[in-house]
Symmetry: C2
Subunit: 296 residues, 2 copies
């Protein structure tokens, strides 16, 4: 008889790039989940999940999906969490761990926290990994390898539950760190949310140029622009929800960024090469830091 | 007896990432250059070039390097062109082609054009290729494969000379296109110069955060930020010169970008999800265009 898996039944509520990658990890490892149940908003996604063979069972109704699960992971856009919780909270099994993979964490505490039943362990999580592709077909088991996963358990959360979830993410190849939701949202505002907002902005600026220039922008995009188009190809719904749910931190970072851009703009206008040199010279040190942090 | 090479002697004045990659192409192909002569500002660079074996001869004095060359390529930062021309213009061989690889083209016409002797064919060029690394050690022969090279010959330039230079770049693997310098500078302002300026700006914004947050920015950079750090690791001197020499076009694009960013900023502040959705949805179409243009 093989030993009991880490979780008897894992319910994935929303299964896109992240959820399907985690499902692939669990299938690969064998001893992490006895059964994987997936729920998604559309029949098409459920059919794709079955065709890919990345869940043992699919359920259109998230309430049915969570029944008897000892781990429930919300993987929908963060703006949909409140609605999902209305449907599932009465069906969560006592002792279950309720987690998620959303990119904002204060909003998750706000929207999910009040509906978590007594006896259910609420451990929000954010795996810092992704690609510009979305949907269950885009997932792959190596996505989390060498990346970070941030957990933001509320004060007083059962430590065994936090450790059990951390084990799952470590087995997926991630380094796990625990953090306050407010701090998470601030760090992600600068490392992820602002870069995405900027990428969409510049892609829009280019798209508004005259048609002949636009064609040439695509042709000559290898000179920097193409890296922004990759980021700007990310899922619009997921990202709308992120910006609406991390408003304060994103607006502060946008404001700082706009001020800093004005300084460079002014230096270019007035031909202040020394200002440009000083600002540009910081770039390589930061790049070195990213390489040293093994995130290049 | 092997057939005569395309150029008898090629002089590379300034040999960094681009120049050294082109030298490697010429050495690989065998029939493009009979002799490669390299000149650089520092003894260290000249020694590196000899050690790498990517030139037949090095000359500290650019005037000596261009003597007898039927192709001279300026590969220094564009702000150094005027000074180089002062030194070399009397030594250029009659019938030679004078070209460059700089990222701005109006400034090259302005700084180089007046000093081009009669009988020398002036064909400015810009290979749209690069990495975040610089210097002769960073070069590789495949850099130009599948990329574009833009030529901006002044009106009345000898067509045979333009075609001969185009042949060199095609043999390097590039697609060649001819363009007005003003149009080149405008297209590159949005595809290359603005993306670099933005990358340096956000890297600076992050660097100014409190030290503990900064460490976490590096750690969690896989969520978008790291792509900007790669761009911001580009050579500061080269880029200072680009911004100072494409001022009008860059300032116009920065202004457009800042306006577009304000629209998204306002939409986030007022919770206008539909505005965000509409702007974000354009991203995938543009990304598709980049992929279709084989520049992804």
């Amino acid at each position: 008889m093989s030993p009991a898996p880490l979780f008897r039944r894992v319910a994935l509520i929303g299964i896109g790039l992240i959820g399907s990658s985690l499902a692939r990890v669990m299938l690969r490892e064998g001893d992490l989940a006895g059964e994987i149940v997936a729920s998604a908003r559309t029949e098409a996604t459920l059919a794709t999940v079955m065709r890919l063979g990345i869940a043992h069972r699919v359920e259109a109704d998230p309430a049915r999906a969570v029944e008897g699960a000892d781990l429930v992971i919300l993987g929908a856009p963060v703006g949909a969490y409140a609605g999902i919780m209305e449907k599932i909270h009465k069906h969560l099994a006592p002792g279950a761990i309720l987690s998620d993979v959303g990119s904002t964490k204060q909003s998750v505490v706000r929207d999910v926290g009040p509906l978590v039943p007594a006896g259910v362990h609420f451990v929000p999580a954010h795996p810092i990994a992704g690609t510009e592709h979305s949907g269950p077909e885009a997932g792959f088991a190596e996505l989390f390898q060498g990346r970070w996963c941030i957990l933001t358990p509320p004060p007083g959360t059962d430590e065994a539950a936090v450790e059990k979830l951390a084990t799952l993410w470590r087995r997926a190849g991630s380094n796990v760190e625990t953090m306050e939701p407010t701090h998470h949202d601030r760090v992600l505002a600068i490392t992820s949310h602002l870069p995405h907002l900027i990428a969409w902005t510049i892609v829009g600026t280019a798209a508004d140029l005259a048609e002949d220039t636009k064609q040439q922008v695509l042709k000559f995009s290898a000179s920097g622009f193409r890296d922004f188009t990759r980021i700007a190809a990310s899922d619009p719904v997921m990202w709308r929800d992120i910006f609406l749910n991390n408003r304060e931190a994103v607006l502060e970072m946008v404001q700082r960024f706009a001020e800093d851009l004005s300084v460079l703009q002014r230096a270019i206008r007035w031909g202040e090469g020394d200002v440009l040199m000083e600002k540009f010279s910081r770039g390589r040190a930061i790049r070195r830091g990213v390489i040293d942090a093994k995130q290049a």
